[in-house]
């Protein structure tokens, strides 16, 4: 191998650079995303009623799509009721339905959104639950 030493030296530098994101985070705290769904509003409900409009799995994956569909149905078609896969009916409203149960925006919405660095613009206009503001003021 011609210039073997240089090549191996270059490879080592390359490997160090590539693994830098991993090696640098050794020993650092691993931020675990832990959205909370134990608001007083939810805990008040009897256990059998503690269900979101759709299954947890569906909501985790599809809530963003669902919210956009809800928005279009309400604003553009004037349809305000959502019939879920179980046949149960809900009023479609971020402020008046979702956040009535999930009154902990910072622990429910922001927890994951901050982690994955997405900034949904919902709260530019929609009013977030009051409780939240009090908590933030106390901190």
């Amino acid at each position: 191998m011609y210039d073997g030493g240089k090549i191996i030296f270059g490879l080592i530098i390359f490997l160090v650079l590539v693994t830098l994101p991993f090696t640098l985070s050794i020993g650092k705290d691993y931020t675990k995303v832990n959205p909370k769904i134990d608001t007083p509003e939810i805990m008040k409900l009897p256990e059998t009623e503690r269900k979101c409009v759709e299954s947890k799995d569906f909501m985790r994956k599809e809530h963003m799509k669902m919210l956009i569909e809800w928005r279009d149905a309400v604003v553009r078609d004037g349809k305000t009721l959502y019939v879920n896969s179980q046949g149960k009916t809900f009023n479609m409203s971020l402020q008046n339905t979702c956040m009535q149960c999930h009154s902990n925006k910072s622990k429910f919405c922001d927890e994951c959104h901050n982690y994955v660095k997405v900034k949904p613009y919902c709260w530019d206009c929609h009013i977030e639950p009051k409780e939240n503001i009090k908590k933030e003021a106390a901190l």
């Binding site: 349809k79 959502y82 019939v83 479609m92 402020q95 206009c125 009013i127």
Partner: protein
């Protein structure tokens, strides 16, 4: 395969074609109950008030300062409309105008000062032929099936073409974040953000819940509303027995707000 006859061959060919055309996938989908088209996911509330075209009649004889104040106050309060005093930046959904300004084409040199300065409540006219909708590049403002000229704040890019298009000045632009200018917010209704245009929405959110528009409720009978396509509606009866005018009707926008003198 050697002893297959013509009839057998055609049968196999037929079944094969059927399956090939998506026959099998149909069974799969039906089995899982996943045909969404059959399930109506979004519905109107049963108590929602419906009309072919909503319209309003405002009786100017019954208007006084208190009613005008109550109507504007309740509208702006429940819709989180900010109170900005600078007239260049103010936001208004419903407001008071002098007769001579609300109906400029009727101004006359010999008109009595009482009539000239008579207070008139003005708001979005929810035109049948709305120029604001025609000029909106993003379809953020659109006409609902029931005639209400609506705003979809999510789509508004703040170009203000609609403000230039509206001959009634019924639209306001948010020059600044409205939040700090609302004292007692209504937690059931959203705000708007800096950079969007807003206006009266005929209380679509109340109609959808079976309630009349807030100004109608606060007006003590001075404002009436109803379906103008229904000959038995309250407003049609009023219009058939009274002389009513509309703002700048000659422009051809066909406003849905009528005024009784």
């Amino acid at each position: 395969m050697s002893n297959i006859n013509r009839r057998e061959f055609l049968k196999i060919l037929g079944i094969g074609t059927f399956m090939g055309l998506g026959g099998w996938s149909i069974f799969e989908v039906v089995g899982k109950g996943e045909i969404e088209a059959f399930v109506e996911k979004y519905k109107k509330a049963p108590e929602a008030l419906q009309a072919k075209r909503w319209a309003m009649v405002i009786d100017l004889k019954k208007l006084d300062q208190k009613i005008i104040h109550d109507c504007t106050e309740v509208c702006h309060r429940i819709h989180n409309v900010p109170k900005i005093l600078n007239p260049k930046e103010e936001i208004k959904w419903i407001w008071e105008e002098k007769f001579k300004n609300a109906f400029p084409e009727m101004k006359d040199d010999y008109m009595s000062p009482e009539i000239k300065n008579m207070p008139v409540l003005v708001l979005c006219n929810h035109c049948e032929n709305p120029p604001c909708v025609r000029v909106c590049p993003t379809k953020a403002t659109f006409k609902r099936k029931d005639g209400i000229v609506m705003m979809d704040m999510h789509r508004c890019i703040g170009c203000r073409f609609c403000m230039a298009g509206c001959p009634y000045g019924a639209r306001s632009f948010n020059w600044r974040d409205p939040r700090q200018y609302v004292k007692n917010e209504n937690p059931e209704f959203p705000f708007r953000m800096k950079g969007v245009v807003e206006k009266c929405t005929f209380c679509y959110e109340r109609l959808d819940r079976g309630l009349p528009p807030a100004c109608v409720e606060a007006s003590k009978g001075a404002i009436m509303y109803g379906d103008i396509t229904d000959p038995n509606s309250e407003i049609r009866k009023i219009l058939s027995s009274n002389f009513a005018i509309r703002r700048k009707a000659k422009l051809g926008t066909k406003p849905s707000v009528y005024y009784l003198l």
